[in-house]
């Protein structure tokens, strides 16, 4: 029964080219929706209040320094991924940012390079895999961590293992930094979340489409192939 449904789907997509239908992108939708519900519960009771308190009670310059510090680590990974994609100019820019900000910006706390107008690259392993032509694979919603795909999630795991934060010996410091990184990320999504709740009929669907569009856009460096005008 299931097999027949699967064959039907493959057949239909061969005929109509409807490769982008939600069913194809999100084959685990029932499981993902449960994950989403779990996420909502955990996030609403624990994570969001912490992030909100962080946003409300931490002075703006401190939050900016925290953002810059982790942004500097992002830049290091951008350099690696620029190189993996053979983007020499971007690698130069991002390496310049890392050297400037680590050296003169107190370990990245101050974004001196940004003030000097060196644009911030934004490359990660998921984008590199996409650039290499690896398909995104099924969409996943992971409680606490949020939306991802098999491809992008693999990139995130590699990144977490390779992070310079892991070089710190003291486990308490390391845990504190990871937590701060996480809270900072969550706090930065508070405004977008407000908008999402206002705009979406079904937040699950809205998040999925936003995430997949955004990733496609990043893989193609802001110039994704035009979507098919009008539908099947």
């Amino acid at each position: 029964m299931l097999l027949r449904a699967a064959m039907l789907c493959v057949g239909a997509s061969l005929v109509s080219g409807c490769a982008m239908g939600p069913a194809r992108e999100d084959p685990f939708e029932p499981v993902n929706r449960v994950s989403y519900k779990v996420h909502q519960a955990v996030d609403g009771t624990i994570i969001k209040p912490i992030a909100q308190a962080y946003a409300d009670y931490t002075p703006q310059p401190v939050r900016l320094a925290v953002r810059n510090f982790f942004g500097n680590i992002d830049d290091m990974f951008s350099v690696v991924n620029d190189l993996l994609q053979g983007k020499g100019d971007k690698a130069g820019n991002d390496l310049g940012r890392v050297i400037t900000n680590t050296g003169f910006g107190v370990l990245g706390l101050i974004d001196i390079a940004g003030s000097a107008g060196i644009p911030k690259g934004n490359e990660d392993f998921g984008q590199t895999f996409g650039f290499w032509g690896i398909p995104q694979g099924p969409y996943l919603f992971i409680p606490v961590l949020g939306p991802t795909t098999v491809r992008d999630g693999s990139g995130t795991v590699i990144r977490a293992y390779a992070s310079p934060v892991n070089l710190i010996d003291d486990i308490a410091t390391r845990a504190a930094l990871w937590s701060l990184n996480f809270v900072d990320l969550r706090a930065s999504a508070l405004q977008a979340e407000n908008l999402l709740n206002q705009a979406a009929l079904d937040p699950y669907t809205f998040i999925r489409r936003s995430y997949l569009q955004r990733r496609e856009y990043l893989v193609y460096d802001g110039k994704p192939p035009p979507p098919k005008e009008d539908e099947e």
């Binding site: 953002r67 942004g71 644009p119 705009a199 009929l201 856009y217």
Partner: protein
């Protein structure tokens, strides 16, 4: 027999006057370029945000009214609705089409007024338009600059209409609003038909109105 000199002068002046009037009026009727239009409307909106006390107090109703008057006319709501609802739209009755477009419009206005209110301190940058002067479809690109962070791109897909250029999609950081809503609309239509979709939008609009 011959006209008095002063009268002939008068006629000539009148003719000159007509010519002058035409010269002045024609550029005003010519269409404003799409990038100039986006810039003008955005600047106007930003200056209102920065000076209007009611907007600064976060009066969502007032902000909504302003958007309805200043910004909404520059969007082609029918085309946006048609793109988002796809096949269901083509099969809908004119009355359903109208109700759908109306509900969609008020949802977008609410969302947009919320967004404007949140991002009021950001500055906008406009990229020069690179398009064929005869093009009837263009993408106008803008960027929201944020201190210490990568800029957020906001692109407008626009079309030429007899009443000026109009936007039919907004793409924020690579996320197209129309594409997002297409998924949502498809899902609602599958569950409850086009009337179900209209009802869901109306409920959403009423709900957010009640919360505010």
């Amino acid at each position: 027999m011959t006209m008095p000199r002063c009268l002939r002068m008068g006629a000539a002046l009148r003719r000159l006057g007509v010519v002058l009037l035409v010269l002045v009026a024609v550029p005003a009727f010519a269409q404003e370029a799409p990038d100039a239009l986006v810039k003008r409307v955005a600047q106007e909106a930003l200056s209102i945000i920065k000076t209007d006390p009611k907007v600064q107090a976060g009066d969502q109703t007032h902000i909504g009214d302003l958007i309805e008057a200043k910004i909404a006319p520059h969007f082609d709501m029918d085309r946006m609705t048609a793109l988002a609802a796809g096949r269901a739209y083509r099969q809908a009755t004119p009355e359903q089409k109208k109700r759908l477009a109306d509900e969609f419009k008020s949802l977008l206005i609410r969302t947009y007024s919320n967004a404007l209110n949140q991002y009021r301190d950001q500055t906008l940058q406009y990229e020069p338009l690179r398009a064929d002067p005869n093009a009837t479809e263009v993408t106008v690109r803008t960027q929201v600059m944020r201190p210490g962070q990568t800029p957020v791109s906001i692109d407008y897909n626009m079309e030429k209409t007899p009443s000026g250029w109009k936007a039919y999609d907004v793409i924020v950081a690579g996320v197209s609003l129309v594409t997002n809503y297409r998924d949502e609309f498809t899902q609602q239509v599958r569950e409850g038909g086009i009337d179900g979709l209209i009802k869901a939008l109306a409920a959403k609009n009423a709900g957010t109105a009640a919360v505010k």
